[in-house]
């Protein structure tokens, strides 16, 4: 892919000014790192606050033609095994778009903003997701892809103080709150959530106000720019899945260890059991493979695609889906899929790296202790 075909976010010029190394990602030219480098960016986010441009992600507003939020929620529940009718105004929930085989088409955040649902979906899936919503829900719902908004994530222990200098009301929010707040002449859509394991916020602002907003946040002494490289190592330490890598259309929620995202009310025996694509598979399966943390013994990173073995002369019994060095852990960390009976934390495994069998063990996720403000 050449740079001419890549899309740019409203913060592209700012990234250039800050000395970012820009790479193609999901059709966008995005900063993989800034001059500080991935290691320092990662550690800074956990110690102070990191500002990420995640404007490449899809922002979708979903509202019912009847005007009733209950109708929007009921419609969306036909696509995701989550409790959306029970999602209070001002709250946000993690959910999965499933397919007829029970596979995960995308993972997303769904917020109830009172008059509409606000969805944040993965960059690489936003076209497919909006097509899916249009094909299935457009009789009852209006689907608006918000192309004119930027999305910034401010993550880390100083995130609240830094963001409150711009939007004071964020101090009253707790983890997974999502609010529409006054912002200049317009509105900011703010959620207290993120993809790092840290307390923090994701803030949607009008595209034409995004650069000035980011520059005001950088004026806070604790805020530094963070690229996609550190975003990946932060979410890996936090045990969070990357769609297309740890979960995809061929992995089911139970296999991926995401059954916590399916509440009782949507499971067998629940008041609104099933009724989403692949429900018969998702609600009854006992998957052969389970996603688990993997802790390599040595210093060599064990990366995505690495085969996992139970014994050196035996066949591969699983594989790594994400892996690398964990800067906050100070050692390599990974996650992947192994047979369910080997997924108990502490089970020894061998990772085949460059022809050698490196010792490792399954491990509980996350690798760090999250600091969400509940």
């Amino acid at each position: 892919m050449t740079t001419e075909t890549l899309e740019r976010t409203p913060l592209h010029a700012l990234h250039r000014d800050l000395g970012a190394r820009l790479v193609p990602f999901a059709g966008y030219e995005m900063p993989v790192q800034f001059p500080a480098g991935i290691m320092k960016e990662h550690l800074h986010t956990r110690e102070k606050a990191g500002l990420f441009d995640v404007s490449h992600m899809g922002q979708i507003r979903l509202s019912s033609r009847s005007g009733a939020i209950e109708d929007t929620a009921r419609a969306l529940e036909t696509l995701v095994p989550a409790d959306i009718l029970g999602l209070a105004a001002g709250r946000q929930r993690y959910a999965l778009f499933t397919n007829d085989a029970g596979g995960i088409e995308d993972d997303l955040m769904i917020a109830n903003h009172g008059d509409a649902l606000f969805l944040v979906v993965n960059a690489a899936r936003k076209a497919a997701d909006s097509a899916h919503l249009t094909a299935t829900l457009s009789d009852h719902c209006k689907i608006e892809v918000l192309e004119d908004r930027a999305l910034l994530a401010l993550q880390g222990p100083a995130a609240e103080d830094a963001l409150a200098t711009q939007i004071p009301a964020v101090r009253d929010m707790r983890f997974m709150d999502s609010r529409v707040l006054p912002f200049g002449d317009g509105r900011a859509l703010v959620s207290r959530s993120g993809y790092t394991g840290e307390d923090g916020f994701e803030v949607s602002v009008p595209a034409d106000a995004a650069e000035a907003f980011a520059r005001r946040l950088f004026a806070h002494p604790d805020v530094e720019p963070i690229g996609l490289g550190a975003r990946d190592s932060l979410r890996l330490e936090a045990g969070l899945c990357l769609h297309g890598q740890d979960i995809d259309a061929s992995t089911t929620p139970v296999s991926a260890g995401l059954n916590w995202a399916i509440p009782k009310i949507r499971r067998s025996g629940g008041a609104r059991a099933g009724g989403f694509p692949g429900a018969n598979v998702v609600l009854s399966e006992t998957p052969a493979l389970r996603r688990t943390g993997i802790l390599p013994d040595g210093r060599a990173p064990v990366r995505a695609g690495t085969p996992l073995h139970a014994e050196p002369d035996g066949p591969a019994i699983g594989h790594v889906t994400s892996g690398g060095f964990g800067p906050s852990c100070g050692h390599p960390v990974a996650m992947g899929y192994v047979p369910a009976n080997l997924a108990t934390p502490g089970t020894p495994l061998l990772a085949q790296v460059r022809g050698k069998f490196l010792t490792a063990a399954t491990a509980a996720l996350p690798f760090i202790t999250p600091t969400y403000k509940r």
């Binding site: 993989v32 790192q33 480098g37 991935i38 290691m39 320092k40 990662h42 490289g229 190592s233 210093r299 060599a300 990173p301 990366r303 690398g324 060095f325 800067p327 390599p332 460059r354």
Partner: protein, 120 residues
């Protein structure tokens, strides 16, 4: 005298012995190193043999033997502390020393100006 390869290695000659490392440009491109695997000393290597594995936070890379020869010594300090390569690529961050099968080949490598032209 320093010589360079197109694979971003530097070579410094001291008598019969050549010290090999990677350039500052290479460390900037790679980012923070977190793992280094060095060869055994006293092994014979051929040009382009993969002799060193380095891993940054993002990715693994191979370092190849710049010329035919014999590895005489390796820098265990960078195995214990891979960050030395980022901090001081031309001195404390050296990778290995070797003697050349054909010492005249050293003169055929890139000089500093040619290498700078390559990376600019």
């Amino acid at each position: 005298m320093l010589k360079f390869t197109e694979d971003h290695e530097w070579l410094r000659r001291d008598g019969d012995e050549i010290t090999v490392g990677i350039t500052e440009h290479a460390t900037e491109q790679l980012g923070d190193l977190v793992f280094v695997e060095l060869p055994e000393a006293n092994i014979t290597v051929a040009k382009e043999d993969e002799v060193v594995v380095i891993e940054s936070v993002k990715a693994a890379s191979d370092i190849t033997a710049p010329l035919d020869g014999t590895i005489t010594e390796v820098n265990d300090a960078i195995v214990d502390n891979p960050a030395l390569v980022n901090e001081d690529p031309l001195e404390k961050g050296w990778f290995f020393k070797m003697t050349l099968a054909n010492p005249a080949e050293f003169d055929g490598l890139l000089d500093e100006d040619a290498y700078k032209a390559l990376v600019e």
